[in-house]
Symmetry: D2
Subunit: 390 residues, 4 copies
């Protein structure tokens, strides 16, 4: 029987569910070095958290994350709380010598992220920042193709991350729309994913310019209880509040290797639900990815005969494709939830010392630096070099 590792999770919302499922599924579908045990879950509402624990099989319930981290029987802290809370949880977890599995975005600033990364390194724990899309098989396969030289020199990254969930001007002023809680709008929430993928597939970014827009500048305050992160003075009564983040952020980037890239992110792109899309153009080949049909990867091989070239749709569902031997059969697709299972698998391998895992909190620092450079570029109307932020 495999050695067990005890997981303590902070947060029970969307990510709490996705992570819990992944901890349970990973050892069933993959030959993991450990069996994770859902030891304890932590959130502020005791009754709701107890229900969550029963549903997912967590043994204990905590309502103070400090107490969770203080427990000696916890090996891994899984951080699924809102971004503004990441820093203090991660610092405490590192101090307590726990391995860290942290949701994205890393933190509200690169300075915070750096503190987190330094603390984790100092503690010698494994730390992972869950930009889960690196573990979509089609993206992992793209990375493999690039590493094998199949794209040659990369000239362009054309990324878009588009959604439409706040187009209604009556959508309330949730924490996502307030700078103090979210740091930024799609520029952090969506572009953090896109920048992570661009760094993974293309390389480091040298300089950026950007333009941002807030189309709806005032929104109704949410009702009492609807927004856990709004200030205590919100009584749920009528009233409007100021939107303090971007609704859309378009950013250009020059990469250290000479590539030219674009990052278009928006929450005002009607018809787009979770459209995380990129095109990569290299001297030997091109790739296209669309998260809404994430089992496919489009590839144009420029070494094919000229009159037979074209973008082909590879169904990334063969056993030979990354992660896919663990699942079904060719043509049987996997979903969003499965990417978390892949992350847990690789994280457990890293804890066992079988491999290292990225992105980690240092990647979080780099991503945040790019995003902050973008904010500065938009604010000052100029191209900002990343080196300015060192």
């Amino acid at each position: 029987m495999k050695k067990q590792l005890n997981v303590g999770i902070v947060g029970t919302k969307f990510m709490g569910r996705a992570h819990s499922n992944a901890w349970l599924a990973a050892p069933k579908f993959f030959d993991t070095p450990y069996t994770p045990v859902l030891k304890a879950v932590c959130a502020r509402d005791k009754d709701a958290t107890a229900g969550f624990a029963e549903n997912w099989g967590y043994i204990d319930v905590e309502t103070d994350w400090r107490e969770l981290i203080a427990r000696p029987d916890i090996d891994i802290i899984d951080v699924c709380s809102p971004t503004a809370n990441h820093k203090e949880v991660v610092l405490a977890a590192a101090a307590a010598g726990k391995h860290i599995f942290c949701e994205k975005p890393c933190a509200l600033s690169s300075a915070d992220a750096r503190e987190m990364a330094q603390a984790a390194d100092k503690a010698g724990v494994v730390h992972y920042l869950n930009h889960n899309y690196r573990r979509v098989p089609a993206i992992a396969f793209a990375k493999q193709m690039i590493d094998e030289g199949k794209l040659g020199t990369i000239y362009h990254w054309r990324g878009a991350y588009l959604q439409d969930w706040i187009m209604d001007p009556n959508f309330p002023l949730t924490w996502h729309l307030q700078k103090e809680y979210a740091g930024a709008g799609p520029h952090f929430d969506l572009n953090s994913h896109a920048v992570d993928l661009a760094r993974y597939l293309v390389g480091e970014i040298d300089s950026v310019s950007a333009m941002m827009k807030t189309f709806v500048t005032e929104r109704p305050l949410p009702g009492a209880g609807a927004a856990t992160f709004t200030s205590g003075s919100d009584t749920g009564s009528a009233g409007m509040g100021e939107v303090t983040v971007d609704d859309a952020s378009f950013m250009l980037a020059s990469f250290e290797n000479g590539a030219l890239g674009s990052f278009d992110s928006s929450r005002f792109a009607g018809g787009r639900k979770n459209y995380n899309y990129f095109e990569l153009y290299g001297s030997k080949g091109s790739l296209i990815f669309d998260l809404e049909n994430m089992n496919a990867l489009q590839y144009c091989n420029l070494e094919d005969p000229a009159d037979e070239q074209g973008f082909r749709t590879i169904q990334v569902t063969n056993a030979a494709h990354p992660f896919m031997d663990a699942w079904w059969a060719p043509g049987h697709i996997i979903g969003y939830g499965n990417t978390f299972v892949h992350a847990v698998k690789d994280f457990l391998d890293a804890v066992a010392g079988k491999s290292t895992i990225t992105p980690n909190l240092w990647d979080g620092v780099k991503i945040m630096q790019v995003l902050e450079a973008g904010q500065l570029a938009a604010k000052e109307g100029r191209t900002v070099k990343l080196s300015e932020l060192e």
Copy 2:
């Protein structure tokens, strides 16, 4: 705490894994009336089965399905063994009063399927035939649209189920290619799914005509151990054996309601992995579905202004879409494995008397009748009415 139901599963291959995962996941993502317990797993190889049990959390291991069924502590028999074995397992399970969750295709003949259905009805147990694609949200949503009249009178079903896994003439003569074990080639394996969906979405079939081909008539005998279903005289030595099933089956169908349909199935369609595709044309609207991008449904609303009509791609990932409120967020897709979770959810509701579930073994009878009519039509070169087979 919810009442528990004990599951005994027969079979540990592809379907054994997909079902085990589903029994575990269903109560975590859906509010099921029972918590299924993985009580016992049965397969012939004791050691391998013990490994399977440990992986998935089955408490006990059995090597004789008769003994599994004889256990009083089993409530549900989950039939994941090869088709040729379905009949005897189902008959025994029904005789023992167990609820039945049976993989497809139902049986090797409609006569067998009828015996199974009669036995299950007589025993008063819930029986379900796992044509899981009915529970792909996009297909369930298509059904809902049709029931709401959004397609009007349906004129056409154009179905294709195409794969390419045996195109290599050196692919060995596994049980799938032998009539005594598989009954037929894609005509049973793939068309059973297509006929199930056509009956679900369009209605009963009145008559069929068909043409079938076997492109590779002899194949290498598989090595020892490679094919559990080949005859005992296979020593794994060199040698060729006769393919006794179709490699491709194209069938036309006239439906009772007047619609005209086609069913093209093949294992010799290069580039197609699991291409389960259909187009539905009605007087008010048209639909297109492709399993390899199964979270999407294409819809053409013929009541849109003429110059604005076109096939739109609906991402069937909203909370309002069937089954989707249990999963992630709009635009976050699910995969093949999730459809089994939906089946378990609905099966448990049926056991609790909250609803009925289809397809069941009687649907298996109907499906097999259509397929047998297709075989007769191909053999005799004529249109065969389903009424001939009653």
Copy 3:
């Protein structure tokens, strides 16, 4: 200056325009051996025909096709009149020693087509049957790939030709819906194109089975003047008439080389305007074509590495692609009208003896035989071998 050839055209409707444009454009875009001269146009309505002549630059107007053919100064008869009229025009043109450029479908029966082909051969004239889709560059390129062996042994033709223009039950009973004028519905109109392409790309058909439907069996009689081909007793008054052709025809075919094919044609496929679509599956590669995006050809090369295979979209717009060096630049598409220009170019080459041209009237015979076999198969509910019709 090039030698001139005088064209006399019969018919001034849709095809009269498309052909006239092509005769004018061909020598401008291609290095044709002759310059065609629009010498005379023939149709029954003198004033309308004079307007047509002025628009397109025809020198003379005729109202009796017999007189047109009798003119010694005409070299080519271009037959754009309705199908029912083809036979007598072609026979007369052949008798007069004119080269023949004939619209499709060839005739109302294979017997008529045979008479026409024999007469043309006997007269020693060049005859061409204008199934123009053979000269869509993507299809010509598909043919080239097949001839080069890039598909290997072909296993499947999956063709569909779908439209929706008569779905409204109030669409009047035009000549297209009457057997005496049109011979059949989509089975002739659309399947003649599909059968032509299947014979071109796959080979001869051995046997067929088919099912046909007429969804709307009675339709309003057209108003006076609206339908030039309805009987003289139509006074335009209210009244309903019987539809005597198929609204949809689905046909299966076994090819002489062993391939298995399907031909789904319908005028009741909502959202489809001119959806002439086929998939071709061979042992080494697969192709997909869609007329509504006719500058593209999808190709799956089965000799690509297994994990990089997929259907690629070739933009068939390079100078290296058939016919395309005459037009624009890569990525600049051509349209439906251009295919007629290609036909004229090849026809003029054939008249000059530089090459032969297909399809010709003998292909018309073969196509009609397949379609008649399909009608017989549908009527008698059985598979019909083409050899029965010899």
Copy 4:
């Protein structure tokens, strides 16, 4: 018989052919107020120009454009010469009172364009700048939908114009790659089209930022005769020359109405031939267009029920769609060449005073200002307001 207008064309390359075809075809497919007569063609090589004249039916040949313009029998000057030549031809044509049909890009600078526009206005002639894509029916239909309010407030333009024809480092240093002849690389050649469409569909641009790259900075000098626009010192001998334009230009734009846009243009996007693509997102609907499949327009109607929303593909081939009643039948596509016919049709209407035509030379001024602002932004690494360039 219609009144005739005499056309004198300058240039016989790609555009000379496309325009000549359009002057001939327009009165045949459309009810134009005039019949254009191909009176004279002008280019420097007398023999080649004579061949061009014979092919297209031009009556006279000129080798000096000044003499062409001096002819009293010319009504329209059609400017198909290279960009660097546009200004002097247009100024002379205006001075001579000729109507002007001018290829794009307008000129090498906005100052030149302004001089041209002022001269044309002063002369009172009709002037048209041939950004022909405005007359792709799908784009004209998009404009119509926007004017009808179907997109509501527009939030985003996401444009890309991507090609791959100079990716080979051995592609020679043609005039397109030299600033003195071309002004810029894709930033002028491709972005001029994109900016024209964005202004047409969204509105005026307020400010821009941009990044540009030249991936191949030196290229082989072209052989003698291969590049008419290279300097006289090019002897065709071996040697390399400096590329003085961008290979790629990515630009962000803020529109006066608040929309945020991106313009990605490149000649280093492998697999893209003439990929002129845009997405438009508004408060009520979204549109997508792709020139390589230019008869289609994707539309997402945000007023459809939420669970039935999606991007639909409208085949813009109905008689009700702009320009399409002149061509074939629904589903029968047109090509790139046809858009020039539409331009000629509208130009003749404008000459007749039946309508005005855009874009004209003043639009050329505006487009060049945006492009110059983009160049300044890239050079200085800052956001540039258009008002700075007034």
